[in-house]
Symmetry: C2
Subunit: 148 residues, 2 copies
């Protein structure tokens, strides 16, 4: 596990997709002393970044190798593929992992049906839908699943 430490220089993290999740994580990582680059196709997406964000932004397509090279993916400690498109996320994550040998790669998956396939590629998966299902189950008293 990577351990973040304010006393150290911080990590180099590249985030693809500057939506609510991407910008939230970007602001937070930046505030905690990490070097953050955020990539999005839409320039206006970067307006979600806070005033405290001290990283860089790149307008570009996560599926194009040029974009990954401009972002210096080969130097990244962590790549987060958080665009709104599952296929873009898995493609970007795979290239970062297999081609650029990035140590930690996490991809967001919207469709729970894609999780199994994505997991087979060895990419770490975040599925907000499943997290919400789990949270509602816990909230309703089903802690631990089918207890009764």
């Amino acid at each position: 596990m990577l351990v973040f430490n304010k006393k150290n220089k911080g990590l180099y993290v590249i985030i693809f997709g500057c939506g609510r999740l991407g910008s939230g994580i970007a602001n937070w990582l930046s505030l905690n002393g990490n070097s953050v680059v955020v990539v999005d196709r839409r320039e206006e997406a970067f307006s979600s970044l806070s005033f405290e964000f001290t990283g860089f932004t790149i307008i570009g397509d996560a599926t194009e190798l040029d974009t990954l090279e401009i972002a210096k993916v080969e130097k990244a400690d962590v790549v987060l593929a958080l665009t709104p498109d599952d296929n873009t996320n898995i493609m970007t994550a795979l290239i970062a992992k297999e081609y650029f040998n990035v140590p930690r790669v996490i991809a967001r998956v919207y469709d729970p049906n894609n999780i199994e396939m994505f997991s087979e590629f060895g990419v770490e998966i975040i599925c907000p839908t499943l997290l919400a299902v789990d949270e509602i189950q816990k909230s309703l008293g089903f802690i631990g699943g089918d207890e009764h």
Copy 2:
């Protein structure tokens, strides 16, 4: 807290919005012996329900009082407002809670900026984006926040 128990009759749960989250919860609640009604504006949304789903479906708009009456919201133990629209969710949740006195009402909120306002209404909130932010933070080693 409500405690679900297979030995009991189960709860009467109404779910507004049959997307990935709504259908996931609906299938699961139904499988666990609860009476489930799912409401969505789009008939095709119900195709996400599994073969094991034994509840009912209603085509209707969550913001219309007629729909809530057809769904018998006044008899519900739990109402889950899980449509793709934050305003619809909060409106439905508020009517269920204040007008129909439903004991447990949970609303999904997409935009983290809406959480504070929604919480002031006393509605329980599920925000998949914040859950995912939290999960990524934990995954990267920031367990418990700014530890270092």
